[in-house]
Amino acid sequence: MHQEVVMAGAGGDGIMMIGQLLAHAAVLEGKNIVWFPSYGPESRGGPADCTVILSTDEIGSPIASTPDVLIALNQMQLDKHAPTVRREGLILLNCSLAVPPKDRDDCRVISIPASEIAEKAGAVKATNMVMLGCYAAVAKPVTLESIIKALPEVLPAHRHNLLPVNELALQRGAEMGVG
């Protein structure tokens, strides 16, 4: 098992967090992981992405130049990263804020209204969790149970009051992936 995923959104979307959540879940399952961030000097609003590579083998390059999976939270990031996804890869996009790419019919493209789903689940800020939940259900890099189990490790202690809404958002996203 070897999967390279790029997660991309805007600063403040919690991109680094879902990357780290996936990484923690993978460690719980005994897998090897590399997480690598990329962002500019802005703390909010600028493009932010991270790469997570999960593998049952030793991981070489920590950079995914042709990722298996792209999780894009907005149009700008989708446009930027969609061309890099490998042929027959997976593109998962938040269609609340982006329209599917026209030129990637060689990939599996899944569009979900993640912002709206998150809002209905109780917090639009949990859009990142909806996307991660959906990805987990579709590509099965780790189980949803491992992600939920890792959540308290990644969410800082003073935010643990938000565990239930994040868990719900993960589950709502997963339901979209199963359906």
Partner: protein, 365 residues
């Protein structure tokens, strides 16, 4: 089995340093190494040590000089432009025969460059960097685990050789997170009879790099050079991956070596016997290991995130016995495995097609 914990490379530098006995850290902020002072500021006081954010890089390295003279295991960290600023102090520390550890999380250059990963400080790191006849001993981690272990060990090495030891990484190795198992580390601290710890009951120790009489200074230089000779014999370290039957041996360190690790498998998947020789010490350089491979007719492709610096050491090791090619990306660009596989393929084709080989280095940017 110890528990696996997720950690950033920069944080592993800090935890490795504290495990290695570091009790005085002096820093100044610069991206992409800021997690080092940030994490130091939290953990060093708990370890009973000193964390101090200096007013400048020059002040930080001078504080390191002072702490080292007092016999404390001490460290500073920075990224490329900040390391340039510290060179005067590093030369003084080397001249005063003091141990210290310096971490350089390299970024794109020259000048202010950018905050992305690069390996263009190889010359500065391995040739001394500042003025005078000295070198820094250079360790190059390629994983978060090695960020921890090599930094811890750097303190033993610096003490043993009474010389600055540089841990050279780049923005990728410093910023990436991997799972590591925290080792049970025991620092090896030699006696330090030369420290300025108060001269009560003994003659005063003097720590200085000023020697007015040329023959005195030559004696100091000879002593320093003898240590480097010892280091070349005893400290040199490299990792060989599938070089045994390889036709093309990639030579790379740090982030480039990680990319080349993928290249080895990809090239072998296409029927090309590729291997990887990864220098772990950049100074002393694994000259003998590379020479031994050249003797056996291996051909080399050196991959760096620079316009070609370590390749010079590889050529010095090979001494014209075999072909040495170069592939580099600069400015913060990390080469993709596929680009390097193309270079390996071109090399393999050149050898099977005819006996005439291109002995000129290939630079692609």
């Amino acid at each position: 089995m110890a528990e696996r914990v997720l950690m950033k490379g920069n944080e592993a530098i800090v935890r490795g340093a504290i495990a290695g006995g570091c009790r005085a850290f002096f820093g100044y902020p610069i991206t992409p190494q800021n997690e080092i002072p940030e994490c130091m500021s939290r953990l060093m006081p708990k370890a009973g040590g000193v964390f101090l954010q200096a007013e400048s890089e020059l002040a930080a390295i001078s504080m390191v000089y002072g702490a080292a003279a007092a016999g404390v295991r001490t460290m500073t960290s920075s990224s490329s432009p900040g390391i340039s600023l510290k060179q005067e102090g590093i030369s003084y520390i080397a001249g005063a025969e003091l141990p210290c550890v310096i971490a350089n999380v390299q970024r794109g250059g020259p000048g202010l460059g950018n905050i992305a990963a690069a390996q263009s400080d190889y010359f500065q790191s391995t040739r001394g960097g500042g003025h005078g006849d000295y070198r820094t001993l250079v360790l190059a981690p390629w994983s978060v685990m090695e960020c921890y272990t090599l930094t811890a060990e750097a303190f033993d090495i610096a003490d043993e050789y009474r010389n600055p030891c540089l841990v050279l990484l780049d923005a990728v190795i410093g910023q990436m997170i991997e799972a590591i198992e925290i080792p049970d580390w025991k620092p090896k601290v030699p006696p330090k009879p030369w420290t300025t710890t108060g001269a009560k009951g003994r003659p005063a120790n003097v720590v200085n790099s000023l020697y007015i009489i040329p023959s005195d200074l030559e004696e100091v230089n000879n002593r320093i050079q003898a240590r480097y000779k010892h280091a070349a014999e005893h400290l040199t370290r490299a990792q060989s991956i599938r070089t045994e039957d390889a036709d093309v041996v990639l030579v790379a360190y740090g982030c480039s070596a990680r990319v080349c690790r993928s290249v080895v498998d990809m090239a072998r998947g296409e029927g090309i016997r590729a291997g990887l020789l990864r220098p772990i010490t950049l100074y002393p350089f694994p000259t003998r290991e590379i020479d031994a491979l050249a003797e056996r007719g291996k051909r080399f492709l050196v991959v760096e995130m620079s316009s070609g610096q370590m390749v010079e050491d590889v050529r010095l090791a090979v001494e014209g016995k075999s072909e040495v090619r170069f592939y580099g990306r600069t400015g913060g660009v990390v080469p993709a495995p596929a680009e390097i596989v193309e270079q390996v393929k071109a090399m393999a084709k050149a050898s099977s097609g005819s006996t005439t080989v291109n002995r000129q280095p290939t630079t692609v940017n």
